[in-house]
């Protein structure tokens, strides 16, 4: 019974679930660099010396972290969809109504959310670099720019890693939301399997176990990365 349900090929759902898992991983992998880049940018705003820029950084992180992820996703998906159709109406009306590609909408929405949380992690990491190191750098005649590139940035990784690890786990879990906007990720593949087999508990439990395995695997890798990042540190 179980073997046939999760087998490969036309009878089983193993291959469909695996394809969905592939989409889930692609989504997370595509979001990470985009979200990090945007997160660096927002963190730079938050750390800026100009009050106006600082306020922008604060506003972005506050609003994005205060809104449900699913609401952000709908705003991005429907907003981009409406915008795209308005553009098409103006320039190429013969195409008719089109949907914004859900994968792109998912990546953009998840990256916007990821960036807000990442900016806070990065800001905290920057501020964790001990003041004495910065002063020491200045004392031996480094410029502010040199202090940033040679002292602050190399240590950023170490301070930001625990927070970033949590964000990565949240990102993996948040990808499940895109199943709502018709993207064939693991969650949606599970839903299709449930619709045909009428075994919701079995399949949703299987999906949960797959996500769980992803998270546990990630935690192992993150623990290794953290140990590596801290290898030069003196233990007290």
């Amino acid at each position: 019974m179980m073997e046939t349900l999760f087998s490969y090929g036309p009878q089983g759902w193993g291959d469909e679930l695996l394809a969905g898992l592939g989409v889930t991983l692609q989504l997370a992998a595509a979001t990470l660099p985009l979200g990090l880049l945007l997160g660096f940018f927002v963190a730079a705003l938050s750390l800026s010396r100009r009050p106006g820029l600082r306020a922008m950084g604060w506003g972005y992180t506050t609003v994005m972290r205060g809104m449900p992820e699913i609401l952000t996703l709908f705003i991005v998906y429907n907003g981009l969809g409406l915008g795209l159709n308005r553009l098409l109406d103006a320039f190429a009306p013969q195409l008719g109504a089109v949907d914004f590609p859900p994968f792109a909408a998912g990546v953009i929405a998840l990256a916007l959310v990821f960036a807000a949380f990442a900016a806070e992690v990065l800001r905290g990491a920057f501020q964790s670099v001990p003041e004495g190191q910065v002063l020491a750098g200045l004392a031996i005649g480094m410029t502010g720019r040199q202090v940033f590139w040679r002292i602050k940035l190399p240590q950023l990784w170490r301070f930001a890693l625990p927070g970033m690890g949590n964000l990565w786990l949240n990102l993996l879990k948040d990808t499940a939301l895109v199943s709502v906007i018709a993207l064939d990720d693991l969650m949606r593949a599970t839903k299709v399997a449930v619709g045909v087999t009428k075994q919701p508990f079995t399949f949703y439990l299987a999906a949960c176990l797959i996500y769980w395995a992803l998270c546990l695997g990630s935690e192992l890798v993150l623990a290794r990365l953290e140990a590596r990042a801290n290898r030069g540190l003196r233990r007290v």
Binding site: F201, Y204, A207
Partner: protein, 232 residues
């Protein structure tokens, strides 16, 4: 239609949804808070099998998407319809609101237990030893010294967890609960009026701001005795 007109037209429905959102969040967080102190104690000093089971439960809850947990309970219960009917539980699981609350309680309880465990571990051992030295029983030490201090330490983190739960409660709309998000989607699907999303966003931010303010007020009360001894 201007923003004001659209807001006043949508507001009654959105406020109705807001009420459901607050109810979902409040019930979920409060019921989880009933179980978390006991579980945190087991997590720290319970019998090994109980500790292992608890760790597995917490890891599962934190390692799987809330949406998948919600689907597992709401749709998954259908697979055991006959059994649940025999137990008289089917009418409970048929209602998406009940399933959402159940999942939120289970999920939030896992997070709250971990937060409280951290708080308990951060209570200085000297305080507990002092309480024992003046002859308090184990239960008295817990009720008068350990837990009050642990809650003070854990308070900000518990507040964050409630905010996360409030945001996550928007997922209930996916299983047809008409919370704030559900009402918002309903209005958008009928009118394609994009501004309703921003109105909903403003309401979610408003809840967060009000909640953060209230939580800080309670925190000030909780820490009052400490501030007094420090001469502030």
């Amino acid at each position: 239609m201007s923003l004001i007109e659209s807001l006043s037209a949508n507001l009654p429905k959105l406020l109705d949804g807001l009420e459901t959102t607050l109810l979902l969040t409040g019930l979920g967080a409060a019921l989880a808070a009933v179980f978390s102190p006991g579980l945190a104690l087991i997590r720290l000093g319970g019998p090994t099998p109980a500790k292992v089971l608890l760790r597995i439960y917490i890891s599962f809850m934190r390692g799987t998407p809330l949406l998948a947990q919600l689907f597992l309970v709401f749709y998954g219960s259908g697979q055991f319809r006959a059994e649940l009917t025999a137990l008289g539980l089917w009418s409970f699981f048929r209602d998406p609101f009940n399933c959402a609350v159940l999942v939120f309680v289970l999920n939030s309880c896992a997070y709250q237990t971990e937060i409280l465990r951290g708080g308990l571990q951060a209570v200085p051992p000297g305080e507990i030893e002092a309480a024992r030295a003046i002859g308090m029983t184990r239960a008295q030490v817990l009720a008068r010294v350990t837990f009050p201090h642990a809650y003070r330490i854990a308070w900000p983190a518990l507040g964050n967890e409630v905010i996360l739960l409030m945001k996550a409660s928007a997922l209930a709309s996916i299983v047809t609960v008409f919370d704030l998000m559900g009402r918002t989607r309903q209005i958008f699907s009928r009118s394609f009026e994009f501004s309703v999303y921003f109105e909903a966003a403003a309401l979610y931010l408003l809840i967060t701001v009000v909640f953060v303010f209230l939580w800080r007020q309670i925190e000030r009360r909780l820490t009052r005795p400490m501030r007094r001894t420090q001469g502030n």
